[in-house]
């Protein structure tokens, strides 16, 4: 990536709203508008919107697109039985190292839409296109696509009010077409907050109109990356670069569920199979602390001996205490195992906790 600072189509909107802007993976992004906790609570109890246009969108067309992608991702594309279906997956190298985590949509009969992390856009594009059959047409739509996540128990009502009368929301992890005012868009029932909601893909030239349309509802709160991080960590959703990277495999990263044991023939399958059979040396676990805020890189101890480092850590606004993830030896990964975290000068007790840390959200309601 070159050193220039990238901006989403909504940059000027964020500045006009008084957002505090930060560099994230080379992008100027809002970390907060009024306050992380305020924005966090808006999503847990109402509706928040996030600009996530920095993420990558790739489209793949052709008769061999399905078999080609099936070889590249760990999860099973055959689960996408209908146009509009989506799945969450890892994409690994031959050693099982995680290149990225992705959402793959069956967006047409012979067509797939892949959504990638902003920091990995170039890496993913190069990897995928290098490993697809030549007959597959690949289009990087990232620059021309804006993505706005509408999240919270009130999200569907807001999107529904803007949509044409005949629109009905897609089911969880599905996608459909929608007109929001004059803006043609794709509506995906996905998100990274643990709340119900819709992620709206539209053309970059329509992003400002859509953003303003959403903010015309008094209950809709603009939210930054700060609350996106606290919301996702309360659910135990991993963040690429903190909770996983090329150095770890999906089994160790607690993503075994996106590597069906029935699937073979994908890149990394043998290496991941060996780790699954032998058991990983370390595992990503959730940790709860009563006191202080654990942060990335802090030491994790067992009976005073350093056994790992905090991967992600924050103060949970919903629970009112610190939560974290960390790689620890598998023998210490059992729920309830007492550990400690070194929070600067203090060593505080921590307990292995199975995520999600926060359980009764609007998403858990539609799942049950």
């Amino acid at each position: 990536m070159d050193g220039s600072v990238r901006k989403t189509p909504l940059y000027d909107e964020h500045v006009a709203l008084g957002a505090r802007m930060v560099d994230f993976a080379g992008w100027q992004m809002p970390v907060q508008y009024t306050g992380i906790i305020e924005e966090h609570n808006a999503v847990r109890s109402g509706v928040g919107i996030f600009d996530v246009s920095h993420m990558g969108e790739f489209r793949f067309f052709g008769a061999e697109a399905e078999t080609g992608l099936q070889r590249i991702i760990t999860n099973d594309l055959a689960k996408l039985s209908h146009v509009g279906d989506a799945l969450y997956t890892a994409m690994c190298d031959e050693d099982g190292g995680i290149i990225d985590d992705l959402i793959v949509y069956r967006s047409g009969d012979l067509e797939f839409l892949v959504v990638a992390n902003a920091a990995n856009r170039e890496t993913d594009w190069d990897w995928i296109t290098a490993h697809l059959p030549e007959s597959v047409e690949a289009v990087d739509e990232s620059d021309r696509t804006a993505l706005i996540a509408v999240q919270g128990p009130g999200a569907l009502a807001v999107v529904g009010e803007l949509a044409e009368a005949s629109w009905s929301p897609p089911d969880r992890f599905e996608l459909n077409e929608v007109d929001l005012g004059t803006v043609g868009a794709l509506a995906a029932r996905t998100g990274y907050t643990g709340e119900d909601g819709i992620e709206v893909f539209c053309h970059a030239s329509n992003a400002v109109a859509l953003w303003r349309l959403l903010l015309s509802f008094p209950e809709v709160v603009p939210c930054g990356l700060g609350s996106r991080d606290t919301l996702r960590l309360e659910m135990g959703y991993p963040l690429y670069g903190s909770d996983m990277d090329r150095g770890v495999d999906p089994i160790s990263a607690a993503l075994g569920w996106v590597v069906p044991s029935t699937k073979s023939g994908f890149i990394g399958a043998e290496a991941i199979g060996r780790i699954r059979d032998g058991g990983p040396a370390t595992r990503l676990v959730g940790l709860t602390v009563a006191e202080g805020v654990p942060r990335h890189g802090y030491g994790v101890l067992h009976e005073g001996v350093m056994v790992g480092k905090v991967a992600s850590g924050t103060f949970s606004p919903t629970l009112g205490h610190g939560i974290a993830t960390a790689y620890v030896p598998s023998a210490l990964a059992g729920e309830g195992t007492p550990l400690e975290i070194e929070i600067r000068r203090k060593v505080v007790p921590a307990v292995v906790t199975r995520p999600p840390f926060v359980k009764n959200t609007s998403l858990s309601a539609i799942r049950s």
């Binding site: 992380i36 700060g226 103060f315």
Partner: protein
Amino acid sequence: MYPKDLKYDREHEWVRAEGDVATIGISFFAQDQLGEVVYVDLPSAGDSVTAGVSFGEVESVKSVSELFSPVTGEIVEVNDALSDSPETVNEDCYGEGWMIKVRLSDTSQVDGLMDADGYQEFLAEEA
């Protein structure tokens, strides 16, 4: 945002001197930069503090900052209410959000701190 009757230091603490007791907190700028405060870690009454030396920590969702004492002396009172209501630091940084009261070893040390105008000039230079 920067009351005239207070003194300020370069670490963004404020001091309200009354006789030989100084009340200490963090400035509007400091609490705004931190964002919503979730923990305040303070020493105990009877402990001594030294000008320029850390006496505690204030922590928000996103970051943590050390608290540096603007003065030298002995702590006579600590704002214990902040352990239950740390958000008071954001809501009322010069009032209910105060942190410690210190009996000054020498009352003249306050004279060396910045007044409100000087602090605002300092902030403008920092920005």
